[in-house]
Amino acid sequence: MANTACFIIVGRNDIPIYEAEVGSAAKREDAAQLHQFILHAALDVVQDLAWTTSAMFLKSVDRFNDLVVSVYVTAGHTRLMLLHDSRNEDGIKSFFQEVHELYIKILLNPLYLPGSRISSSHFDTKVRALARKYL
């Protein structure tokens, strides 16, 4: 399992709608902020890259020291972004695909406002379980 893994879901207006630290290593105090910063820096790269391919999984789009940013862009341009030190590309792709399906179910709820924070604790539990399984 990845030591460091920070996962965020960014809505169309570039505002995060979900965040989770899913790595196994002990957390640095400022880890969350650092991770947010790195992921946000990657957004511009993602934006351009997304238009060059019809694939949703964009693999690694940016680097920071030994950390890599991998991204998955959905049809509605919601970005699933993972900051990680793992090299398990297949695992990462599977993780993204399964989270994507969960996201669609959240979206199908008419009482969920697209672009708003995902507050479902079930979603959080399942995402963390998927991270343990695939990353």
Partner: protein, 195 residues
């Protein structure tokens, strides 16, 4: 109960699998529901433009969800990046799933570079509602225009989408045209990607 299927219980809604899209309801059930949507919104507005906008908003909510659902289920998670691709997705996939058939036609506007039209001889939502004369140009197709807008906007192809009645020679009922006018940024990007 013997012979009766029991509803499968899921501990949480996220455990339930995504539908395969095969379930159906009667057309009349949809017609009754849609009619209530229109009538309710009529009580909330002062004019036709506002009524159309509210129907469009309701459609938009449907479109934004349909985009994600259908790309995942019908298009093998393929994300459209080109104009004709997304239009084709709307005209064929979205129409087929929601209305049971692909749209009658998809045409490029002759006068403006940024305009496209999807036309339907008898748009589903206009089949069972007759517009009273005092409502002028009001078109329930505004709901469908909203669905299209929801799909296009969220896919990264912002556009102004409106529904219009177009009288056809020799036909008693006009056909409905969904007019799509893409934002500048879409055309600019298309040009860039075409190089």
């Amino acid at each position: 109960m013997i012979g009766v299927g029991k509803m499968k219980q899921y501990s949480n809604v996220l455990d339930k699998p995504l539908s395969k899209g095969k379930q159906e309801v009667s057309l009349s059930a949809f017609a009754f529901l849609f009619s209530e949507l229109v009538q309710y919104n009529q009580t909330q507005v002062d004019n036709i433009a506002e009524l159309e906008r509210r129907l469009e908003d309701a459609g938009y909510a449907v479109g934004s969800r349909v985009l994600e659902l259908l790309c995942n289920r019908e298009k093998g998670n393929r994300r459209e990046t080109r104009l004709l691709g997304i239009l084709s997705f709307v005209h064929s996939t979205v129409w087929k799933v929601l209305f049971g058939k692909v749209a009658d036609s998809l045409e490029k506007g002759t006068e403006h570079e940024d305009e496209y039209m999807i036309s339907e001889k008898e748009l589903l939502v206009n089949r069972f509602i007759s517009i009273p004369k005092d409502m002028g140009t009001f078109n329930c197709g505004a709901f469908v225009a909203g669905i299209v807008k929801g799909v296009l906007d969220n896919a990264g192809f912002p556009a102004v989408v409106t529904a219009h009645f177009v009288p056809i020679e020799g036909q008693q009922r006009p056909r409905t045209t969904i007019l799509i006018k893409f934002a500048d940024e879409v055309l600019k990007r298309e040009a860039r990607l075409s190089q």
